[in-house]
């Protein structure tokens, strides 16, 4: 099935004069990781809010165009039903905590309680995400006293625990160190393996290149580019939208310019390593 179909979508927030989305069209399949990149204020967060149904149900404004989520018109969705069908973590880790729970364990359990999950299962599921994210040391801490990075992990864990089929995540690693960022991406990859669909806004382009199936480049409220990761992130057009290519692609580009092209547009270190290794072999054979 199709996760989301957007046709010529325009949206202007009630307090704003300029549209946040301005002729946005795209189509996302289910069961994939869909990366979203672009400059600040290009419409990335608004797109997340739309797919998750926060627009138009929470944020007021003028919405035109066609939005279908999981085969159903956005306007026909019951807001409460949509909020459980699509999990969502926003980018400000300081406001993603409920504020009413005294321990991280209880914080992560909150969503499961609201879903009516039996106690034993809640405990099991909380345990699992805590281990996955390696936040065992935080379980007894008060969520309101955590650092930005810790809150970001707890907020992420709280949504993952709810096990929705679709998860929208806006910059989940902005406050995290490189190792934790990679762990978060590993978990996202694991979700995909279990058939989940993920929409992921992320500035860390190297990680996105390695883990996303498709990438959408937002620019001025519309999708300037949208398609398979390699096609989009390997395109020369990318930089004109303020997005830097992945480092390995940059390397391939520099080698190409220098007449030492490696034949492919790599997206991961492995791909680049293979290509460079075979090039080295060629060169040494030629000698």
């Amino acid at each position: 099935m199709v996760l989301a179909t957007l046709r010529d979508v325009r949206f202007t927030y009630a307090y704003s004069e300029r549209p946040a989305l301005d002729g946005l069209s795209l189509e996302w399949e289910e069961g994939k990781v869909h990366g979203v990149v672009g400059l600040n204020a290009s419409g990335k967060s608004t797109l997340c809010a739309l797919v998750r149904g926060i627009i138009p149900h929470f944020h007021e404004g003028e919405l035109t165009g066609q939005v279908q989520i999981l085969g159903k018109d956005l306007q026909d969705w019951d807001p409460a039903e949509l909020s459980t069908a699509i999990g969502c973590v926003f980018d400000n880790p300081f406001t993603q905590i409920s504020g009413i729970r005294e321990t991280v364990f209880e914080e992560i359990a909150l969503g499961l309680e609201n879903l009516g999950v039996p106690r034993d299962e809640i405990i099991e599921r909380v345990r699992r995400v805590v281990e996955q994210l390696g936040i065992e040391r935080l379980v007894d801490k008060n969520p309101n006293g955590l650092s930005g990075g810790q809150r970001q992990k707890v907020a992420f864990a709280s949504i993952i625990a709810m096990d929705a089929d679709v998860v929208v995540i806006d910059e989940p690693t902005s406050q995290l160190d490189p190792e934790s960022s990679e762990e978060v991406f590993e978990i996202i990859h694991g979700l995909k393996d279990r058939g989940k669909s993920i929409v992921l806004v992320e500035h860390k382009i190297d990680l996105l290149a390695a883990y996303a199936d498709t990438v959408t480049v937002m620019h001025g409220g519309r999708a300037a580019m949208s398609g398979p990761t390699r096609e989009v992130l390997g395109s020369a057009e990318l930089r004109s939208y303020g997005v830097r290519p992945p480092e390995v692609a940059e390397l391939a580009g520099l080698l190409q310019e220098d007449g030492r092209g490696i034949g492919i547009m790599p997206m991961t270190r492995d791909e680049a390593a293979h290509a460079v290794a075979s090039r080295i072999e060629e060169v040494s054979r030629a000698h």
């Binding site: 998750r52 926060i54 929470f58 807001p79 409460a80 909020s83 459980t84 999990g87 969502c88 973590v89 926003f90 400000n92 300081f94 406001t95 993603q96 905590i97 409920s98 504020g99 009413i100 005294e102 321990t103 364990f105 209880e106 359990a109 909150l110 969503g111 499961l112 309680e113 609201n114 879903l115 009516g116 999950v117 039996p118 106690r119 034993d120 809640i122 405990i123 909380v126 345990r127 805590v130 281990e131 065992e136 040391r137 379980v139 007894d140 309101n144 006293g145 907020a155 709280s158 949504i159 709810m162």
Partner: protein, 267 residues
């Protein structure tokens, strides 16, 4: 190495919630009933000895509940701050009885002392009851008990969140105070310095509280807060023990007797 913390937490939540003390582990609503009944006895009974005794009982229960020291401090502060003033005002303004200390139009009389003691001990018994309850029972447990008898989780959320936001404001204020200091704004020293620093602290505290509200609402919605249907609870309160019911029954009977007695003039 750290999975022990997780194991311990999981085991703790798997078992009934306990604060490690039989008084504090009572069903919050039954405890509330017991405390209210004790306060009612103090109020219904005449004179000042029984209300004073009710206060003493609360302090004793505070110690039994393992919160004695901090509760005693609260209790004494209440007496020093509110009780004494009530006593003095009442004592000075009530006429009649034998004059003990003549002070012109407002003299201290035996009737005044009696009335003052009565008034102060009664008000203190009520205040002490309320503070004792909140010293012993975590809000979360109270809300759970309320949800058990059918109060909507939304209502309990609003109550919990209001209490939490008071605590949050304090924490945010400290962070913002630091941010002002880091900018070279003096916040330590004379009262004038502190007042000058006050506005820069106040504004961001309220602003962040307000802007956080909307984002929090959306974050909560993402946690299925608005979902219809039964919710479950990770924390399970202990089943109410028979002695708790017994204690409540006895105290309520005594309170009813005291009230009826007061109305019928038994005392």
């Amino acid at each position: 190495m750290t999975s022990t913390a997780l194991d311990a937490a999981a085991a703790r939540y798997l078992a009934d919630a306990t604060l490690g003390n039989p008084i504090r582990d009572m069903n919050p609503l039954i405890l509330l009933g017991c405390i209210a009944a004790t306060a009612a006895i103090g109020v219904a009974a005449p004179g000042w000895i029984i209300p004073l005794a009710a206060g003493a009982v609360f302090v004793l229960v505070g110690f039994l509940g393992g919160k004695g020291r901090s509760y005693l401090m609260t209790f004494l502060k209440l007496w020093a701050g509110v009780g004494l003033i009530l006593f003095v005002l009442r004592a000075l303004l009530t006429r009649g009885g034998r004059v003990l200390v003549p002070l012109g139009p407002i003299s201290v009389t035996t009737a005044g002392i009696d009335a003052g003691l009565r008034f102060a001990t009664v008000v203190m018994a009520i205040c002490a009851a309320a503070t004792l309850f909140f010293a012993l029972v975590p809000m979360r447990h109270l809300m759970l008990a309320l949800e058990h008898i059918g109060v909507s989780p939304r209502v309990s959320y609003v109550l919990l969140a209001s209490f939490q936001s008071i605590a949050d404001l304090g924490a945010t204020a400290r962070v913002v105070l630091d941010a002002q200091k880091a900018r070279g704004i003096e916040t330590e020293g004379s009262p004038l310095v502190r007042v000058r620093a006050f506005f820069p602290v106040l504004a961001p505290v309220f602003l962040s509280a307000m802007s956080a509200t909307e984002e929090r609402a959306i974050a909560l919605d993402a946690r299925a807060f608005n979902r219809e249907g039964a919710h479950t609870s990770l924390v399970r309160l202990r089943r109410t023990r028979p002695w708790e019911w017994g204690a409540l029954t006895l105290l309520v009977l005594a309170a009813v007797a005291a009230v009826i007695g007061g109305v019928l003039g038994w005392f």
